[in-house]
């Protein structure tokens, strides 16, 4: 396969790549798949599958669906890094990723990403069900064709990106039931709202990075942070009643109801504190609160089914 020069200095890249051992190369490929995000996506999908299962969980079906979803998430994450390799190189937070750092070449990431995505879609289509594959396609298109190009054009990209971002539990739900009921949409709504405090906290922490790369996140567009603070609180506040709907609809029990209130209030507390000061430290705590809140909420929802 030929070398693709792109905008990276060819020789330096070659030297860098020549130094990589097989283990380092595998680790670079693994890094492309954004394992932590993939894990969170698999977890929310598992919750969707668990809640949609009517008479006991089909564990083989669950593992099979999660495998397909993990492949899809890994493929999309890789293609996203391929598409944003120039921007990633401009930000400190992402400069060490496999593509901007030159550990892997763009065509390697492209081939890896396309293979994973196509394999995932065919897997979901043939071995899970058509609806899960169709939902997967909306995530691919929404994330790669709408959210990614919009990031440098409008701060509304966060809203657009929140749609494909909220689909994973729906895929889990569709995998278990073959259709989507109101319960699936409630999970979608929870994940949709959760993303705003989560991403705005990240955007606030790394706003200088985003400014350098020309990514129009809200804190970049309005540096005083007033609207960012408002949105963090408003979305967390909306999340609280929506997170209670699973009990209202009979999907989960009372323990979940009480747990969701407690978790929601704690999350709201972290949001208000972050909104009041908008310091990097508080934003970091809000980010931590968000990544703890979501898995705990979903685990509780399934456990108290």
């Amino acid at each position: 396969m030929e070398e693709f020069a792109l905008d990276l200095p060819g020789q330096a890249v070659d030297v860098e790549r020549a130094r990589l051992s097989w283990r380092e190369r595998i680790s670079a490929y693994l890094e492309l798949t954004k394992p932590r995000i993939t894990f969170l996506i698999v977890l929310t999908s598992a919750a969707g599958f668990g809640l949609a299962s009517r008479s006991g969980i089909d564990y083989l079906g669950l593992v099979s669906s999660l495998f397909g979803i993990a492949l899809l998430s890994s493929g999309i994450a890789t293609l996203n890094q391929y598409a944003e390799r120039d921007l990633d190189g401009l930000m400190r937070r992402t400069a060490s990723r496999p593509l901007p750092s030159g550990k892997l070449l763009p065509w390697e990431a492209l081939a890896f990403g396309v293979s994973l995505t196509v394999l995932a879609e065919l897997y979901l289509l043939v071995l899970v069900n058509p609806l899960s594959a169709l939902l997967g396609l909306t995530v691919i298109a929404g994330y790669l064709f709408a959210y990614t190009p919009l990031k440098t054009r409008s701060s509304l990209s966060t809203v657009v990106g929140a749609f494909p971002g909220a689909v994973p539990p729906l895929i889990g739900w569709a995998a278990a039931r073959g259709t989507i009921d109101v319960g699936g949409w409630v999970l979608f709504a929870i994940l949709f709202l959760w993303q705003f405090p989560h991403f705005l906290a990240i955007a606030w922490m790394y706003r200088e990075d985003y400014t350098r790369a020309g990514i129009l996140m809200l804190p970049v567009v309005e540096p005083d942070g007033r609207v960012t603070a408002q949105q963090i609180v408003v979305y967390t506040l909306m999340l609280l009643p929506v997170s209670l709907l699973p009990t209202v609809l009979g999907m989960s029990g009372r323990v979940y109801f009480i747990g969701a209130i407690v978790l929601g209030l704690l999350f709201l507390y972290a949001s208000v504190r972050a909104a009041l000061s908008l310091s990097r430290q508080r934003a970091k705590k809000l980010l931590l609160a968000s990544v703890l809140y979501l898995p705990l909420l979903f685990i509780l929802m399934v456990a108290n089914k």
Binding site: E2, E3, F4, A5, L6, G10, A83, P106, W107, L110, V114, V118, E121, L122, L125, V126, P130, L131, A133, L134, L135, L137, T138, I140, A141, G142, L144, F145, A146, P149, T179, I180
Partner: protein, 310 residues
């Protein structure tokens, strides 16, 4: 160049889009056999528009209008256009619309056989493709377009666009076959559903790669980036409409008759599919217009010198 001809060609293309919607409404309302008569409806030129006859006869009226408009388009092209290949395309448009009308009649006379109905739906897209092409070829931007000499890249954009266009056309054929394979009260055949979703994946990959390459290689060239962005944006909308259409169609066998939102969402999915096809046609034609034909040779030379970009 005639500004009037271009405006008229755009009018015919827009009217054809409306005709596709009218045709899709006939299928979604299961109104294809509202009358078994053709070319008259229940023996009348203008019957009372009651029940499903509203959709079927309405479609025939819109189609007749397009037929008349296309006759006008052909004469307009023959009188105003000096390029012989555009004149031939004008004649071709009329032949296609006549064939399409006859195929529509055959569909009714043979009681909606799958092959004929699907062929009618496919030929509709090909006729639409012809009217869009005529609108592009007669435009000022086409005539005044300057070739872009600098074309870097390992894969010629002409190839990518052609692959995307053919993939979309095949997907439209599968979609048309799927739509006509089962009425609202029956479940869709699984094999065709799988093929249509697999086709959607192929379109996502092909059109995604094309749009991404256009935006990366020709940033600032609005002549190419505009249709590329429009096509990929419409594709996103189309996938969400496809999901919604599938969900509503899954539930439709329980309904007493074709109902909304299944009808409107499915028709919107058909219409948006036609728009994705149309924008990809515009992109492909423009790419062929401004990028040199010997692009591959240029690229192979570049590749030997190690200056390849993807």
């Amino acid at each position: 160049m005639s500004k009037g001809l271009n405006r008229y060609a755009i009018l015919v293309a827009c009217a054809t889009f409306f005709l596709i919607i009218a045709g899709a409404l006939v299928t979604s309302n299961d109104a294809g056999l509202a009358t078994s008569d053709w070319p008259l409806s229940n023996g009348q030129v203008f019957p009372k528009m009651v029940g499903n006859l509203f959709w079927e006869h309405g479609h025939r009226m819109v189609a007749t209008t397009i037929g008349v408009l296309t006759i006008g388009l052909m004469f307009f092209v023959l009188f105003k256009e000096s390029r012989s290949w555009v004149r031939k395309l004008g004649v071709c448009a009329l032949v296609l619309v006549i064939a399409q009308g006859l195929l529509g009649g055959l569909t009714v006379k043979l009681m909606l056989p799958l092959a004929v109905s699907a062929a009618h739906a496919t030929l509709a897209q090909l006729f639409f493709c012809t009217t869009i092409s005529l609108a592009v070829f007669t435009s000022k931007s086409w005539i005044e377009a300057k070739p872009i000499q600098e074309e870097k890249g390992s894969l010629p954009l002409r190839y990518l666009c052609t692959v995307a266009l053919v993939t979309i056309l095949l997907q439209l054929v599968i979609g048309a076959t799927l739509r006509h394979s089962a009425t609202w009260d029956k479940h869709l055949p699984v094999e065709l559903v799988l093929a249509h979703i697999g086709g959607a994946l192929a379109v996502v990959m092909a059109l995604g790669a094309t749009s991404f390459t256009v935006l990366r290689r020709h940033r600032g060239e609005k002549y190419l980036t505009r249709p590329a962005m429009l096509a990929s944006s419409l594709l996103v909308v189309q996938l969400f409409l496809g999901l919604a259409a599938y969900l509503t169609r899954l539930a439709s066998p329980n309904d007493p008759q074709p109902l909304n939102p299944m009808i409107s969402i499915t028709v919107a999915h058909v219409a948006c599919g036609a728009l994705v096809f149309a924008t990809t046609i515009v992109l492909t034609l423009r790419v062929f217009r401004v990028l040199p034909a010997n692009e591959l040779a240029v690229n192979l030379t570049a590749r030997r010198h190690g200056a390849i970009e993807i």
